[in-house]
């Protein structure tokens, strides 16, 4: 059900994605995330079009973490920040993090070889139903995503929405 990917450039790190629908305790989860009492980055699935988008953000976050150049304070915060097309940290949390009224939550975990992470433990804190990542497209709000990433009609002609998003994410610090 969950999706796992070992980062090619950081073979010690694996990215695990867990998707939950019909979530009832988003407010409590958000509080836990802010307190740091739940492991993982809690993301609003409406802003995600494909797991690849998360992998790109996670790869960048791990890279910056390893060289001590993160813009935020924790690896999980950095993943959320890396999803954003701009450099405003609080805006990133607002748009890509979960809000109290959300009914779906995507949890991203980075597991490195030394640590063991108990997925059941994390899943049990979510009052909702864990679903396969295949259901992600149903939860995506394409209109909101296009607006957030300022995707232009011409970009849509030469590539997928995911292409436009990833390009924006990976080049934002050079613009």
């Amino acid at each position: 059900m969950d999706l796992r990917h070992q980062l090619e450039l950081f073979p010690d790190c694996s990215v695990t994605l867990l998707l939950f629908n019909h979530v009832k305790n988003a407010a409590a989860l958000r509080k836990k995330a802010m307190e740091g009492s739940i492991e993982g980055a809690l993301i609003n699935p409406a802003m995600i079009v494909d797991p690849f988008q998360i992998l790109v953000a996670a790869n960048k976050a791990v890279h910056l973490h390893k060289i001590g150049k993160m813009k935020t304070r924790t690896l999980y915060a950095e993943i959320i920040f890396s999803l954003s097309p701009n450099n405003n940290i609080s805006d990133a949390f607002k748009k890509f993090g979960i809000s109290d009224s959300d009914t779906a939550v995507l949890i991203v975990l980075i597991v490195d070889r030394e640590k063991t992470v108990n997925l059941e433990d994390i899943a049990s804190q979510v009052e909702g139903q864990q679903v396969s990542l295949d259901e992600l497209p149903q939860l995506t709000d394409t209109v909101k995503v296009k607006k957030m990433y300022k995707v232009t009609p011409q970009e849509e002609k030469i590539g997928t929405l995911l292409d436009s998003i990833v390009c924006r994410m990976s080049t934002k610090d050079v613009l």
């Binding site: 090619e8 450039l9 970009e155 030469i158 590539g159 050079v174």
Partner: protein, 251 residues
């Protein structure tokens, strides 16, 4: 004195000698500026370009140059994709690979691999070798001219135009072109810079592909027809041609 003379050459050879490939990627090409690797990155077919540090340069300069080229490449790729051009009833961008990851520590860039693409260079070679009529290349030339006109209208100078820096997506017959290798690119509105950009392509084109003067002419014609600012550019191109080795600039 002898050791001194051999110095920089030896040092460069040493510097280029051993860098381990990034995990999961295979070395595909070694150029003067960068090593190209291919493989999977985050589960997708990708190309990684790792810049080769030039040890004969002062380290501060090397770092700055390397970073600038990497940043320019990333910027230009995004700029291409977001350029807006009317094509019939819709807007289209300029096809260029998606950027997946830029590493400013090693100044390397991870890009989309256009799988099963071939370079325009290889395509022209195969058409010529198969004895086909070069008139089939005239349409390709038109497409190239249009593409470059759009790029220049965005004030984007490629800096290293050759037929190996333009790809054809599969299937080849669709003539769907993709520009690559923007490491030497920069932004400029000057006809001089655009003229030189075309001149570089012309020299590369005509020296790599014999008997293609008509083909390149078709490219320039399409360029002139597509670009709103082509007049001064073509004029500069004519002037630039008069420069160079063993050419008299006395008009």
């Amino acid at each position: 004195a002898q050791a001194g003379a051999a110095g920089p050459v030896v040092a460069e050879a040493e510097a280029e000698a051993e860098a381990p490939p990034p995990p999961g990627l295979q070395l595909v090409q070694q150029g003067a500026e960068a090593r190209i690797y291919r493989g999977l990155f985050l589960g997708r077919a990708a190309v990684a370009k790792l810049r080769i540090p030039k040890r004969y340069r002062h380290p501060a300069l090397e770092e700055r140059l390397s970073r600038r080229r990497t940043a320019q490449e990333a910027r230009s790729l995004l700029r291409c994709r977001r350029a807006a051009f009317h094509l019939f009833f819709f807007y289209t961008g300029i096809s260029a690979p998606v950027v997946y990851f830029v590493d400013y520590v090693t100044n390397s860039i991870y890009l989309e691999d256009i799988v099963d693409s071939i370079t325009v260079q290889d395509h022209i070679n195969s058409v010529q070798q198969s004895g086909s009529d070069t008139s089939s290349l005239l349409i390709l030339a038109e497409k190239m001219g249009e593409l470059l006109a759009r790029m220049h209208d965005e004030d984007l100078i490629h800096g290293d135009l050759t037929t190996s820096n333009i790809l054809l997506r599969p299937p080849t017959e669709k003539l769907d072109l993709v520009l690559i290798d923007f490491g030497l690119s920069f932004i400029s509105g000057l006809p001089e810079d655009k003229g030189v950009d075309l001149y570089v392509l012309e020299k590369a084109f005509l020296s790599t592909h014999p008997d293609t003067e008509t083909v390149f002419k078709a490219l320039l014609k399409a360029y002139a027809a597509t670009s709103k600012k082509s007049g001064p550019v073509i004029k500069r191109l004519d002037e630039v041609r008069l420069r160079g080795r063993k050419r008299s600039m006395i008009g």
